[in-house]
Amino acid sequence: MVNTKVELSGLTLDNPVIPASGTFGFGKEFAEFYDINILGSIAVKGTTPEPRYGNELPRIAECAGGMINSVGLQNPGMKAVCEKELPELAKIYNKKVIANICGSSEEDYVKCASMLDAQEQVGILEINISCPNVKCGGMSFGTDPNTAAELTKAVKAVVRKPVYMKLSPNVTDITEIAKACEAAGADGISLINTLVGMRIDIKRRSPVIANETGGFSGPAIFPVALGMVYRTAKAVDIPIMGIGGISSARDVIEMIMAGATAVQVGAANLSDPFTCKRIIEELPEVMEELGIEDLSEIRGCAK
């Protein structure tokens, strides 16, 4: 029997498969498809201090092998998340979850992080400094190492749980940002968030997305994500959650070989709601085929 368990900053996950923030809501829609307790963990929808409606419609465009979204962090706000969404999720999911936090200012992040840190259900705080879909905040925190480091420090100062900084791929050198976050005390790095992308409706002669550009993700971005995880894993010593374009157990193995400890599956959940279930079922078979007994054997083995 192969062992699919992985350890993430003291949290033991039954397997490394985690739905990515924003693509799994607070779990209940997926619970209609399968028992979500099979998941390693769940990264819930990005939360801001106040409720947010998000961007105008259309928010979605299709691409070859992927999609663009400009949801713009629509969420019910941290109070509703703590008082309603998380308790409801607790009824259908009995493991720790990953809270995903966003804001427009350092204060926002700090407020939101300290409130979510207090929730028993939350195992890890994932600080999203990489959302390309919000005007102020979001990605701007993730493109400069100093700003990223300061935010990391500010959040770390008010919380007890492990803090993972979720980075943007839309930068010249991701390893610089990752190193700055590590030096500032981050417990781990989540990468990547979406690439900036665009589609134009040639009949209407205008951008498909109301917001013009949006966040591009799905299988098409896998090679970019893999390269960034690989380079970052060489640059830092803290664990990495590999995200971007994952849709199969083989992709998971590739990400772990690149240096990831766990992985998150995003857009693939939307086009096939059973993606995470399928990956979790296939993972032991693929491990056996490749002669892998424990995932820790292969972490970062591709050199």
């Binding site: 693509t23 829609e29 998000g54 979605i60 299709e62 979204n69 939307l270 096939d272 059973f274």
Partner: protein, 245 residues
């Protein structure tokens, strides 16, 4: 919600660029008219949402227009080939609400590819003892479909074409009374808005580009008087009184 693989029973052209496709599937899955299915097509990342136009014992029927690569591919599929569908999706029309109104006729108003869901709705209303008036709008005579099918249900059907090549010339609103009591409408947004303005009450079905189609991604949210709603899950049908334009 179910993920079903089903075989195509037939797929044929019924008007300019418009096709009717029938699948073998458990039709009991469709609970209400106005619900839709989300179709996975080989080589396309996102699914294609299409309303259920009709259902029979063991099958459902869709009517779709070729507007892009996905629907083009659908039109090339043959009897016996299989498709992967998520269904049933969306709230659908609540016909009980219409029964309860007492001020005049019920109108079913469909524009273009908003016509198909009106057919299953019409059947449901008839089964519930109602006799709605049907108004169908198209651009031109070549696009007209289903007029005969609605007539065969014994309903009063008016067709309006923009160019006047079939039925009355003009928009669906030109076939409406100044103020309709209760409307069920589906069609392009400008049509919905015009119908909204000429109706006192009713239910309107909206379209939106969708990420998931089942309520998880917030890709389709719209503002309503009762807060934001997901067109795929809380819609596609909204009550007249909650709509914000």
């Amino acid at each position: 919600m179910n993920d079903v693989t089903c075989a195509i029973k037939s797929n044929k052209k019924i008007a300019d660029q418009v096709y009717e496709m029938e699948f073998y599937v458990n039709d009991d899955l469709i609970e209400r008219p106005g619900q839709f299915v989300d179709i996975k097509l080989d080589g396309f990342f996102l699914r294609r949402p299409i309303s259920v136009a009709n259902k029979a014992e063991g099958s459902i029927t869709l009517v779709y227009k070729v507007v892009g690569e996905g629907t083009k591919m659908m039109s090339s599929l043959k009897k016996g080939e299989t498709l992967d569908l998520l269904m049933p999706l969306g709230n659908g029309y609540d016909i009980c609400k219409a029964e309860s109104t007492e001020d005049g006729d019920i109108y079913l108003i469909g524009g273009g590819l908003g016509v198909p869901p009106m057919y299953l709705l019409a059947s449901s209303l008839i089964r519930a003892g109602e006799k709605p008036k049907v108004i169908l709008g198209f651009n031109t005579s070549e696009e007209v479909f289903y007029e005969d099918k609605f007539a065969a249900l014994g309903l009063d059907v008016t067709v309006a074409t923009v160019d006047g090549s079939h039925g009355i010339k003009g928009m669906v609103t030109d076939a409406m009374p100044p103020e309709a009591g209760y409307v069920f409408a589906c069609g392009p947004e400008p049509m919905l808005k015009a119908v909204y303005e000429r109706s006192r009450d009713g239910q309107f079905s909206f379209e939106s580009r969708m990420g998931c189609g089942f309520g998880a991604c917030m890709g389709c949210s719209c503002r309503t008087k009762y807060g934001s709603k997901r067109i795929c899950k809380d819609g596609p049908v909204l009550d007249r009184e909650e709509i914000i334009w």
